[in-house]
Amino acid sequence: MPDLPTPDDFLPLKPDAFYVLLVLLHGERHGYAIMREAAERSGGNVELQAGALYRLLARLLDDGLVVESQRRPAADADDERRRYYRVTALGRRVIAAEAERMASLAAAARAALRGSPAVA
């Protein structure tokens, strides 16, 4: 039986992927909403165009970090039914692992800065 992927297999997460998963942690979204929110939350650092977004979603879907949910009418469109995405349990664990990794990096950096000779 093939090994099940562990969250560590996916680290380090690239910023795009990180923000997309972060957005989906806040609830199900359809494609365009993910684009907008990711741009907002990252303060403009992650600006995904449509093609890039869906390719990223394709990878996330293939890897099992994200899954499609039932199509529903978009809150802001007429009666088009959009495809919504949500994060999976594995996805949650991956983003948690990434957050931890970044936290420990940050802690190590801070410790090193405190202990080093005066920073000008």
Binding site: D9, F10, L11, P12, L13, K14, A17, H30, G31, Y32, M35, Q49, A50, G51, A52, L53, Y54, R55, L57, A58, R59, L60, D62, D63, L65, R71, A77, D78, D79, E80, R81, R82, R83
Partner: protein, 918 residues
């Protein structure tokens, strides 16, 4: 999932969806719908934030092209989906900036300079493809995509009606319906109307230039307001000026203002004489103002008479501006609610039951569609055709690049070994493609600009609306940029993908021996050639079909003899010719004097010259085919003529006689019918002696003659049932029809110019205030009737010729390279005793095989694609076996010819040289 719905796509979305084919199929199947939806969201967002369309499309296209490219590369290189691991993405993303680095591009340019033949050939081929595509796109952009020059043009709608009298028919509005809608319709901010007419502009104190005939238009007072255009001087019409009782005013076009008043700003307030009536000039329209299918030099307010609106004469083209929140559908419903009241307000002498029978229904359509509707399909087909040429060109260039890659394997291997990695190799391939594509883009745009300027000056002759304003503008250049970039990426896909397979160590070892590693490239090139031949076949087949259709069209006999006949138009203003007698007197004297001009064989007067924009159909009653009560009489073409018409036009008289001399005091109640008319009502009998009448009442006319059929409307429609009446029909007043006439003169061939001049002089001598206009020969008119078919054929023929040349070059290239690859093998054969003819045959067989494969694929494609041409073919089926068979043969012949050169050089190989050097 079946529970989704996508509202109909607009043009931009359709283009985007088509472009999604750049993505690999698997990705597309999964995400195409989402991508289109997101595109729509982004578009809406961009519109809301006021981002211009150009910038929006630029980012969209850049995303689409780079991502699709990266996705394709990834599918080749992806080890396994790992969000974190290094994928083809990263390599591509790293390569693109490397490639776009200025020093890398300069190096690429230098490398290309060292292989001039390759570079020139590639740039040339790409330029042809880019130029053709850009030129056609300019036309598509200028005619179909560019917004109309009115304010908020997508709120403008054209108002027409459908009628069911003799079959379904589309008509414009009547004065009555315009007044009714203006008063009662609620879904519009305004409804205006326009009617083309010709007027006599007379001389006056303020305006001493001689009298001339002008095209002009009657407009409602609010029309310019509805369109949202402002005058360049003065004002437009005010409310209330479009009534019969209002003071007469006029607005000049920029052209007329400069011509008659020399651009004098004090012209506003002066007076001019139009059709004998003095009018005050209140404004001048700017030169940029256009209205579809109409270029008047003068506007006067429509003389609407609320007490007397005629609901049954549909002469006014109506334009409406939708109120905020109204849609095309709600507007139509609104008009449908209002229209039934028309006979209450404007009785017009029409029995209500008959109006009911006619099923008059309002139709609301976008204004843009009413202008460009019937050309849009044709233009998209043309764009599709040149895109095929572009694809063929790209395939050709990719093929050339493969050969080049083969010879540079060593160089690339060294670069890879030295550590710039795969990204460096990819960058090298890409940078060359960019330089080539950039060169082709610049040259192609320049070439296209020239072609477009030529097309635009041919303008109205081709019957394509708005063609005069087409140019290579910012949008088109953007398109060229996009197309060039697309070419760059397309042609590099194969070499880049191949780059992955460079076995670096092996290449460094076996740099001299290339035979085994050449095989995959040879297969790739063969596939490319087969694709080129297939695409070329589609183009050539399309041209062939159009050519046959055109030939059939030219064979259609118009029903009259056009050679040697010249025409001139004439209008007798009602003010000067109040009675039928005075009009007939002028005509009689005119014909008498014209017939006396040397060189003239015969002359006649008519109100409808076939195959021009003249048109007059009348509801006709047939005595022995009475209508059911409240039935609506059938409408037939009616032409007013004098007795010499058939003789002058060369229309055969099948039985009976024509009209005798016409006496205004005792108008002859006689009619002549066309053969089709006689066949319809009396299929086995004789029409002579039967009686007909125009309209619902009035005297009956006896049929005295039957003549051959004439195509009045178009050559590719059947000849219509037509009735001929004498010029004078009412004893008491000159009816309107007989005052707008054309004089037709048959002259001996060499005398045509002098006869035309003589005609003009004669008219002027009889009445100096009557200008003649619209002078043409009938041969010109018949030619013009097939001009659009001719233009389409020409364009497609050029595209096919290009495709054939490129296909031939492709085959030649593959064959020649194949010979180089197999040099050893061929030398061995020759050394073992093979005769030159056997060698030649072996090589040619290869070429023919490639050709056959291409033809096979091409035929399948063609059968599917030519269906699209159905509406444009006259009496030729889109799957016409003769044409398709001929095309296959033509391409096979090209394949054979293209292989001839390489076959000969193969047979001429000296085995000793090759085998020694190995």
């Amino acid at each position: 999932m079946a529970d989704f719905r996508l509202p109909p796509l607009n043009a931009g979305e359709r283009i985007y969806r088509a472009l999604l084919h750049l993505y690999p199929a698997r990705f597309r199947r999964a995400f195409a719908q989402d991508l289109v939806e997101t595109f729509r969201d982004e578009r809406r967002d961009a519109d809301r934030r006021g981002i211009p369309a150009g910038a929006f499309w630029l980012t969209t296209l850049q995303d689409l092209v780079t991502q699709s490219f990266a996705e394709r590369i990834s599918t080749v290189w992806r080890p396994r989906g790992r969000v974190g691991a290094l994928t083809g993405d990263d390599i591509t993303m790293a390569a693109i900036p490397l490639a776009l680095n200025l020093s890398e591009l300069r190096l690429a340019a230098r490398r290309l300079r060292r292989v001039p033949t390759f570079t020139v050939a590639t740039v040339l081929v790409l330029t042809l493809g880019v130029a053709a595509t850009t030129a056609v796109f300019s036309v598509v952009n200028g005619v179909l995509l560019r917004p109309l020059p009115y304010s908020a043009p997508d709120r403008l709608v054209a108002l027409t009606n459908t009628l069911e009298v003799s079959g379904a028919e589309i008509t414009d509005q009547s004065d009555a319906s315009v007044m009714l809608y203006q008063e009662r319709a609620r879904a519009f901010d305004g409804i205006g109307a326009w009617r083309d007419r010709d007027v006599n502009l007379g001389a006056s104190d303020a305006d001493p230039a001689p009298a001339e005939r002008l095209s002009a238009a009657w407009v409602t007072a609010n029309l310019f307001g509805v369109l949202g255009v402002r005058p360049s001087l003065g004002r437009t019409f005010q409310a209330g000026e479009d009534r019969v009782t209002a003071a007469p005013v006029a607005i000049l076009s920029d052209r007329l203002w400069r011509r008659r008043f020399h651009g004098d700003r004090a012209a506003v307030g002066k007076r001019i004489v139009v059709d004998g009536v003095s009018r005050e000039i209140v404004g001048v329209m700017p030169a940029s103002f256009i209205f579809p299918r109409s270029s008047p030099e003068l506007w006067t307010p429509m003389p609407l008479d609320p007490a007397n609106g005629q609901a049954g004469s549909f002469n006014d083209r109506a334009v409406g501006r939708l109120r905020d929140g109204a849609t095309v559908e709600s507007a139509r419903a609104d008009l449908a609610r209002v229209l039934p009241r028309i006979l209450d307000e404007f009785p017009s002498g029409i029995p209500p039951a008959m109006w009911e029978q006619a099923h008059v229904r309002p139709v609301v359509a976008s204004f843009r569609d009413s202008i460009v509707g019937d050309v849009s399909r044709l233009l998209w087909i043309l764009l599709g055709s040149v895109s095929l040429v572009l694809l063929i060109a790209c395939a050709n260039v990719a093929s050339l690049l493969l050969v080049r890659g083969e010879s540079r394997q060593l160089e690339l291997a060294v670069r890879g070994a030295l550590g710039s990695g795969l990204a460096g190799i990819v960058a090298q391939c890409l940078s060359e493609s960019f330089v080539l594509a950039a060169g082709a883009g610049v040259l192609g745009a320049a070439l296209a600009a020239i072609a477009v300027r030529t097309l635009a000056s041919a303008g109205g002759d081709l019957g394509v609306p708005r063609l005069e304003q087409v140019s290579v503008d910012g949008h088109v250049l953007l398109f060229t940029l996009g197309v060039s970039a697309l070419c760059a990426l397309l042609v590099s896909i194969i070499p880049v993908v191949r780059a992955r397979h460079i076995p670096i160590a092996m290449a460094l070892r076996d740099s001299t021996r290339g035979s085994t590693s050449g095989k995959p490239r040879q297969r790739a090139r063969s596939i490319l050639v087969v694709a080129q031949v297939a695409l070329a076949l589609v183009l050539v087949a399309a041209s062939g079909l159009l050519a046959r259709s055109f030939a059939r069209l030219r064979d259609v006999r118009p029903g009259f003899e056009p050679t040697g006949v010249v025409m001139a138009r004439l209008v007798l203003p009602a003010a000067n010719y109040k009675s039928a007698a005075s009009a007939m007197q002028l005509y009689d004297r005119l014909l008498e004097q014209v017939r006396a001009i040397p060189g003239v064989r015969d002359a006649t007067i008519t109100d409808w010259v076939p195959l021009t924009s003249d048109h007059n159909d009348t509801a006709t009653g047939v005595e022995d085919h009475p209508l059911p009560p409240n039935g609506v009489p059938r409408v037939h073409f009616s032409i007013d003529i004098d007795g010499a018409y058939f003789e002058t036009m060369g229309i055969p008289l099948l039985s009976g006689r024509t009209f005798g001399p016409q006496d205004a005091a005792h108008p002859p109640l006689e009619a002549v019918v066309s053969h089709a008319f006689a066949e319809r009502y009396w299929p086995n009998g004789n029409p002579l002696g039967k009686r007909v009448r125009p309209g619902l009442d009035g005297p009956w006319y006896t049929i005295v003659g039957e003549v051959g059929d004439v195509h009045y409307e178009a050559l590719d429609k059947p000849a219509e049932d037509a009735l001929y009446y004498p010029l004078v029909q009412h004893a008491d007043s000159a009816s309107a029809a007989t005052r707008f006439v054309s004089v037709l003169v048959r002259a001996a061939g060499t005398q045509q110019a002098s006869v035309a001049a003589g005609l003009r002089r004669t008219v002027h001598a009889l009445d100096a205030s009557l200008p003649t206009y619209g002078e043409r020969s009938l041969s010109q008119i018949v030619d013009a009737a097939s001009s659009r078919a001719r233009a389409t054929l020409l364009l497609l023929a050029v595209a096919s010729a290009l495709a054939l040349v490129l296909g031939a070059v492709g085959i030649y290239g593959v064959m020649a390279y194949g010979v180089t690859l197999r040099q050893r093998e061929i030398s061995v054969r020759i050394a073992l005793g093979a005769r030159p003819s056997q060698v030649r045959r072996m090589i040619s067989r290869q070429g023919v095989t490639l050709g056959l494969a291409g033809v096979a694929v091409g035929i399948v494609l063609a059968l599917g694609v030519t269906r699209v041409l159905r509406g444009f073919l006259y009496e030729v089926s889109p799957t016409d076996p003769l044409t398709l068979g001929g095309t296959c043969v033509a391409l096979l012949v090209v394949a054979v010819l293209a292989s001839w050169g390489p076959a000969r050089s193969a047979a001429a190989i000296d085995p000793a040289d090759t085998l020694r050097g190995g």
